[in-house]
């Protein structure tokens, strides 16, 4: 093996690489970039990415994938271009970690900003924002205080009064899972059967659609994520719906309101690790957290970030501080329970 041979091998190798880069349409440029696979709707993340790019000059490439992201990462294996994963619930964060697709991140700044109960014990994933699963009731129809706990929803006196989305949606699954984790599966079954009997209609639509149904008198009680209130109030048509309901933060006298997180994880084979870390730190920083509060109405995880006007008007509340992994562990049981009580049918 002479040097000449090695050189020609190098030259032909580079030529092939150039050719492949060309047909692949991938820029072999030097400028820094981060590649994002996201379960979250892009319109919620884009303002944050734009702010990051203008601050650092790092380009963020993203693709919104609602089904099959795990399989895409798995099959792309070590050649995957993805650096970061964004999800809207705890379940998918634990799934991706369990599939061995993430890596541990050692960042003092993220650890300082994200409280311990909102991150993976091995630092494979981090929460970014939290959302409360609240109950809304028809103004002037359901007297204030009549419903104070998730458990009250199963009371037969609310027959035909409740609307929810599908019992198998990740937000409902997490709530049911948290009830299983707290009360055990038998109590959870009785509870879910009770709610099922009280439903005004077959579960359908998303959280907004439930509030809309209340404003039109189709039902009186619904379970939604809190930030939908902010999003609806910002919409000319939907503000009417949001104004027709009272907000209840359940279980203030006992375990507290069920919380879920949106979060992020660094992929195992992230090709742009340094830039990715910068984006993670930005989102957990004061500026990133503040944007989540102001633009999306979510609760910040970093302590000391001021709430928006709506959140301030609701005031502080007791949050369920059960560990997120304990809730995530009951997810499969929660989905089976929804099947067994035929919640969606």
């Amino acid at each position: 093996m002479g040097t000449g041979c090695r050189r020609s091998r190098f030259v032909s190798g580079s030529l092939i690489a150039l050719f492949l880069a060309f047909i692949n349409g991938r820029a072999w440029s030097e400028s820094a970039e981060v590649n994002v696979y996201s379960y979250r709707n892009p319109q919620l993340l884009e303002p944050l990415f734009n702010a990051f790019t203008s601050e650092t000059g790092i380009q963020v490439n993203s693709v919104f994938i609602s089904k099959g992201m795990l399989e895409r990462l798995q099959s792309e294996a070590e050649n995957s271009p993805a650096d970061l994963i964004f999800t809207a619930d705890i379940g998918r964060l634990t799934d991706i970690k369990a599939a061995g697709l993430t890596q541990s991140v050692d960042s003092a700044s993220i650890r300082a900003n994200v409280p311990e109960q909102f991150r993976d014990p091995q630092d494979h994933w981090f929460g970014l924002t939290s959302r409360a699963r609240i109950i809304v009731t028809a103004k002037g129809v359901v007297p204030p205080g009549a419903i104070a706990r998730y458990e009250d929803l199963a009371d037969p006196k609310w027959r035909g009064a409740i609307c929810t989305r599908s019992g198998k949606h990740p937000y409902m699954t997490a709530l049911i899972a948290s009830v299983i984790a707290h009360d055990g599966s038998d109590a959870a079954r009785q509870w879910l059967i009770g709610i099922k009997k009280n439903l005004a209609r077959k579960p359908q639509g998303n959280d907004r659609a439930q509030v809309k149904a209340i404003s039109q008198g189709e039902c009186d009680i619904a379970i939604i994520n809190h930030y939908y209130m902010a999003l609806m109030l910002a919409d000319p048509e939907q503000a009417v719906w949001a104004n027709s309901v009272d907000v209840v933060f359940p279980n203030q006298s006992d375990r507290g309101t069920h919380m879920n997180v949106s979060g992020m994880a660094l992929t195992r084979h992230a090709p742009n690790k340094a830039a990715a870390l910068q984006l993670m730190e930005f989102l957990a920083s004061e500026r990133g957290q503040k944007m989540y509060v102001d633009d999306n109405g979510e609760y910040p995880l970093k302590p000391g970030i001021p709430w928006n006007a709506l959140q301030t008007s609701w005031g502080t509340f007791k949050q369920d501080d059960i560990s997120l992994t304990a809730v995530a562990a009951q997810r499969a049981a929660a989905i089976r329970l929804a099947d067994e009580v035929r919640y969606d049918n």
Binding site: I16, A17, N35, S62, R72, P81, A200, D235
Partner: protein, 572 residues
Amino acid sequence: MTAYPSASAAVDPSLKLQRITRLNRWTMGAVFAAILVFLPIGAVVFLSFGDSGDIWPHLLRTALPEYVGTTLWLLLGVGLSVFLTGVTTAWLVTMCRFPGRRVFEWLLLLPLAIPAYVMAYAYTDLLEYAGPVQTALRALFGWQSARDYFFPPVRSLGGAIMFMGLVLYPYVYLLARSAFLEQSVNVLEVSRVLGKGPWQTFRSISFPAARPAIVVGVSLALMETLNDYGTVDFFAVYTMTAGLIDVWLGMGSLTGGAQIATSMLVFVILLIALERVSRRHQRVYQQTSSRFRPLPVYPLSGWRSAVAIGLCALPVVAGFIVPISVLGHLSVVYFDRSWTSEFKMYAFNSLALSAGAALMTLMAALFIVYARRLKGGRVLGVATRIASLGYAVPGAVLAVGILIPFAAFDNALDAFLRKTLGVSTGLLLSGTVAAVMFAYMVRFLAVAVGQVDSSLEKVSPSMDMAARTLGFRAGATLVRYHLPLIKGGLLTAAMVVFVDCMKELPATLLLRPFNFETLATYVYRFASDEMLGEAALGSLTIVAVGLLPVLFLSRMISRSRQLNVVSSVGDQ
């Protein structure tokens, strides 16, 4: 073609050898194409061999019987609806003359451009409890709440049947109409001379001749029904596809999902078998000479013409005008929030991808079908059927089936080049537009194969024999003689595939590159969050962009019969 095999061998052995190798090139090409298309489906079947734990006992005990029952009802309902609507309207606009017929000819195609999920959004907005219709009814009759009156729920099995039927009937309409247009004038005239009325002619002549095309149309509509997720999810109707997604993403068992997908293939194989059976013993060759004579038509007047107008107007109003009005209204209200400068780029992406995929699909279909015509045989028959399976697999599952072989190829190539040349190629095909186009081809090849097959079948084999006697090779025969004859069928196939690609969502979503949007994925961003207002403008644009080729090709198809008519075309 096989009448004198030994004769040619006796004359010149080298000629025979030449012929075999040439034919084999077609065969091998077709088999290769079929294998390529089968890869993703094969990957899904392979996945289903894994261990899914105790998911099946759980499903059997709880939700599975309902999934299967709902799927069957949905198929039955949509099948009946598209059959009745499609055949009736196609017969009316082709064989009868009434005011507005020429306009209805293309108006009836328009619902094809509306994605089923968009239709579902629009009608829900209109008919739900909070929508304008029920609100007006309550105001009119003084009802206070939902308990005071009955209104059929929109989000239900009935709603799914109705709205899917409205967007899917154009498949049947389109295929039935081109079959009616290709009818032999001689036979129709004989029927008339024998004193048969329009109904008898329809029953004993036109319908049997058009049956293969109609069955193709109905089975396409049913496969589309089977793979639909957007509509049934929005309507909370639990079909097998909805159950599959649930098992896969909710319970986290891709194996379990793949097992349901594989068992759904049984439905597809039944549909394909049905189509085959309906064509058995049936060889109706088109009469090349009479093609260019106008069809004998039935002029309608008085109440008959009013009924014809009503029957044609109903699907157009319900399937196009109403949803477009709802979307148009929402687009105006939400214009400022939804109009972005990138809109043109998304539209271009959709157009370019769909046009490229339609062309690729058409060529693959032509290749496979013609190869079978040349050499028949069991292998190619199976290949044709395999090539059709992708249509009925839910898009998201098919997309996973594409990911796996593509990434395996990319990673193997990368490893090989690293080892031999010290160069890393990364992912060559995964996450590129090529993967998305391939997905479209796998998914919609059935549409093209069905249409090309039923067109080519009508070309008499004597054409092949004559051309070959004149010394033309197989390829030249196809290009010079067959293509001009089946032009209408090819255009129909290309058009349907194009429009289908425009609407495709789940595979595009999963397989696309970074920062790449089509109109469908852009609409989905908002629609998935039930922000219908913001999604309306994008939906309208999908429909508008999809309409251009529909209108253009519809013109070409109706002209395919009139082209060489010297004068006195039978209109009016």
